[in-house]
Point group: C2
Chain length 715, copies 2
Amino acid sequence: MEPIEQLFIYGVLVSSIAGLVYALLLIFQINRYDEGTEDMRKVNRAIREGADAYLRSQFKSIIIPLAFLSIFLFYTGTSQDISIALGRVWAFLMGSLFSGSVGYIGMTMAVKGNVRVANAARKSFNEALKIAYRSGTITGMLTDGLGLLGGVIILLAYGPERAYEVLLGYGFGGSLIALFMRVGGGIYTKSADVGADIVGKVEEGIPEDDPRNPAVIADLVGDNVGDCAGMAADIFESYEVSIVAAMILGLAAFPGSVKGVVYPLVVRAIGIFSSIISTYFVSVSGDVGDAMGAIKRGYNLAAVISISGFSILAMYYMGDFRIAVVTFWGIILAVLINYITDYYTSQKFGPVKEIISSTQTGAATTILSGLAVGYESTVIAILAIAGTIIASSILFIQEGFLMIAYGIALAGIGFLTLTGNNVSMDTFGPIVDNAQGLAEMVGLEKDARKTLEHMDSVGNTTKAITKGIAIGSAVLAAISLYNDYFQLTKLTTLPLIESHVFVLFFIGLLIGGAIPFLFSAIAIRAVSRGAFGMIREVRRQFRENPDILKGKAKPDYGRCVAISTLSAQKELLTLGAVAILAPIVVGFSLHEFALAGFLAGMIVSGQLLAVFMANAGGAWDNAKKAIEDGLFGGKGSDAHKAGVVGDTVGDPLKDTAGPALNPMLKVINLITLLVAPVILLYKQNIMVNMAVAIPAFIIMIVALWYSKRPPKMEE
Amino acid sequence: MEPIEQLFIYGVLVSSIAGLVYALLLIFQINRYDEGTEDMRKVNRAIREGADAYLRSQFKSIIIPLAFLSIFLFYTGTSQDISIALGRVWAFLMGSLFSGSVGYIGMTMAVKGNVRVANAARKSFNEALKIAYRSGTITGMLTDGLGLLGGVIILLAYGPERAYEVLLGYGFGGSLIALFMRVGGGIYTKSADVGADIVGKVEEGIPEDDPRNPAVIADLVGDNVGDCAGMAADIFESYEVSIVAAMILGLAAFPGSVKGVVYPLVVRAIGIFSSIISTYFVSVSGDVGDAMGAIKRGYNLAAVISISGFSILAMYYMGDFRIAVVTFWGIILAVLINYITDYYTSQKFGPVKEIISSTQTGAATTILSGLAVGYESTVIAILAIAGTIIASSILFIQEGFLMIAYGIALAGIGFLTLTGNNVSMDTFGPIVDNAQGLAEMVGLEKDARKTLEHMDSVGNTTKAITKGIAIGSAVLAAISLYNDYFQLTKLTTLPLIESHVFVLFFIGLLIGGAIPFLFSAIAIRAVSRGAFGMIREVRRQFRENPDILKGKAKPDYGRCVAISTLSAQKELLTLGAVAILAPIVVGFSLHEFALAGFLAGMIVSGQLLAVFMANAGGAWDNAKKAIEDGLFGGKGSDAHKAGVVGDTVGDPLKDTAGPALNPMLKVINLITLLVAPVILLYKQNIMVNMAVAIPAFIIMIVALWYSKRPPKMEE
């Protein structure tokens, strides 16, 4: 390594620490703000306890699988070097720990932030905005700082030649925890939400966030564990995996040099500084203002700093401006995806208008138009991604696959350059959502509630945008990992008509394509089951103590929280088992080409389903909101009822099943990369193959059978 | 060609003619039955006129595209031999004509049959069953006879060496018309159905098939044009394309011999004889009986005859029993798919029960559980198909790709061996459905209505089964065509990490995966628009002439028929344009490997979506029926309302968007095979590429833009 490169790498290390220090400073800052009235503190305490209880129980249930997987990782390493095998295990644990920490600390700070936002809203718009945004920025900076820190540490500890197996462990740890947090959080939040709505709003006719509803605290907790902890872990993982993928490809594309590794790391470091600077300046002048405008200004500032930074780096260090161009394509794709998401989910444009108008003829046409909108949006999103890949590839077409793959990986790096800002924006959403719910529950002043309502609607937009970004980043990272697959397995060609391997590839493609559908079916069912449990409990409380509905007795919030926690935890098992075992079964029974097809099929149908679910769900949500704002008779009209059906269908799609596909794509990709060398090694040994594939298959079937339990309804 | 082979081929020719003669005999037989009362004749005449009008207008609107495509086919042939180029054109026209004829004659006989079934039901169960089944058998035998006839004629006219380009034209003609008939019929029937239900059942509270509803005739016509004409053309096309694919692969797998071509043709011929024998014996003893049992007995008889026949053939002529085994795997797959379809869509099993129980908590949970059921079913279906491919491949694993591909093609042949019986069963469905509707409209005797109700429920099952078969056969045929692609383009390997082509393959995969989603979005929208038009018209008639609802004045059925006809015809254009142009755009801009990926992506996501739509739709339908039969409060209860929403959402999925994917898969595959040589020829010529790709792209965008028109609603 040349001195300049050592300097760069230590610079990256410093900047990742700078990001963490900035997060720490913000934590101190937020803690200093006042928590408001006793009532507010009480509700907030209940939310905090619920959220803590959930995460504790979730972490507890993850420990045993983690231990198993650590042993598995130790023994599946093909390197003879024991330090690599051990390194893979600790990197795996570090990835898990980082991913979990981002989720846990980010969520804790969001919960702490929301009561302070609600309190600040009573005095100043600007202060409320600042607290909300900065609470979110804590998560953003943790994502950036920890994501980068892990990569650099591994690079420094193992050196560029030996880092890759260790990096895979790191990526896998982060992805796995993200999968659990995303799925668990998603099931939690939607079980609570759907359960609270069906008994509260539909059956008893009490408003949303009414303190009489026993599930109201569980619902507020759900926003935090789903939208904060889940989303934070999800994006952390994309951030981390895309750097892992870029580093592996960078090592391969520049043999004998670390340039290819240094560049993406430094781009990330630049991203951290631009996020620190730009997020600190997010505020409005005067007392009431345009929150979205302030957030966007911060975003644009960060973009300008980043682009300037990596352009200079590409030109003077890499000596190849194309490197900057592909990084830039990633940013362009992020902008495009924002537009596409906005077009398909905002009330201003045709698609949501189409859904709104179809609410007039009832729930069925509402659902159908949402399906059409969602399906159509997948096509546009996939064309944007395909276009980015083409635009990146074309620059390196003479250099062959490795440089092309590296270029695509850099587009992924560019795509996530502004992660700090993105996560800040995103976490802003549930924070103000919770602040508003809290204001509603304790009956805060009208002005404060108005301020919070404005911020909540901004938060809905920022959440929707991040959802698109999360999917896009997942797909790009998955494609880069897929390219790693060929690099690692040394599969140079896929014979087409000479042998049977293309048939294997195609079979893998078919099976891989089905996996996201299987995953979605399980996730949707899990929410149904959780919601049914919640409905039963809320009904029971109303029935056994009629004073609750009269407002004379306090409902038992704790039991509802416990029910959500339990169902989230139980339902995780199947999804985790499928993600980990499916590639193992395919790999050991049908081998490396089938596995290549499997990954490709999964990425294609995963991307399609994830985009469909996110956009259809978002569109239904906003169509309902438009009616609630007064269109076609407003609340209580037939059109509104149809809109509510659309929204309720969309909720588990956009907040549970769809988002779960992001970490799933990467968990499956990474487990494939981890086991591929073992599969190649034992390819001819039918006993080993059967000894692995058959038990894995049986465990998977048992897990699936378990997930098929019908939801229990009361008589 | 050896004498035995000539004998075989002429034998095949004779048996295809025998199938047609049998169809003709059945036509005479059906015509002899009595049409019943004057009222019945009147209604039947209205249906016949509506159906004729629709098909005439559809055929008219297809003529110009056909003419264009004929010219296109003439000039894209790469063979220097003008007789081949001309042959391709006439084969294309022959395929179109055959496919259209099967649809047209089949539908006409179904319409003629249904009034006779209704009349016969007044006297004898057995006679009604026989007429219904035999009217359906006409379509079945036409499918068999014409499908086989075309293949043999081409083989005889061009000889085995030169047949393949001509065969492609033949396959393309059949597929294209099937696409138009399937999509047009699907849009027609669902526009009428949804429109009639929403104003009639929901808004005005009059029963289904009530003569006061102006859309009732359009609805009855829709059953014929969608379920008879559309389905018949669809299966005809699978039947025809799978023989084309098998012949092409058979020629390649057995160089210098025609064995590989003769075997599938003779298997088909055996299938015809077994269908003739077995369908003739479908009847029940005594006066009332078990219609399903009789149909199943016929099916089993046909299976026994066929399996014995091709086993002997494989053993003594091919000298390789594995050939019989793979054909047999196709039959096993058909049986498996029947079970899967039954499991996911019948009230007897878990999935539909799950939906039924979720109707208790409203429309949203009904939709969600249907989505979960549909998604899950795709996984099982894909595993069955993948399993069949594995089981077929494993037998020829030493012989390499061509024999494996031939084996898979033979599984497709086996899968459709019993097409005659399948189509008979399927067409039975809409015939008895219409007979029952007719009985309802004219108020037939109670006993007759009971007989027809029993048959109608049997018809629902047979229709659902055929839907699964149609999808499975489409996927198998598409896979065989895909294998042809490599054979024809002579692509021997797909370089992975040596060059950029794998990136192109992957981009193609992404874009191809999106095509079925695009198609579905357009098809769903088309139904919505058609239904809105119908709703407007029915409302107008009720408003302008209040006597209609009182039963004092006759509604204007004709205008409703005209509206359905017009919307079906208009909406076809976009779907046809996308199917034909998308592969051309991809092929000329990104070339042969991208096109290979494109086909693979399309097959994977097309299969998943088609199965999802068919099974979710079927499951919702039967969940609603279970409630109507008295569960959870029966008709009018809240659970029933939720069930109706599910059914209405499922209808366009299972009857329009889903089935349209079958011919789409093959049209796109065939157009790819047709243009692939041209793409390879001009690969280096960027001017030609742009001159083709850009206009094609623009036309496609215009067509898509046209399909985005929002549905027009009245103020």
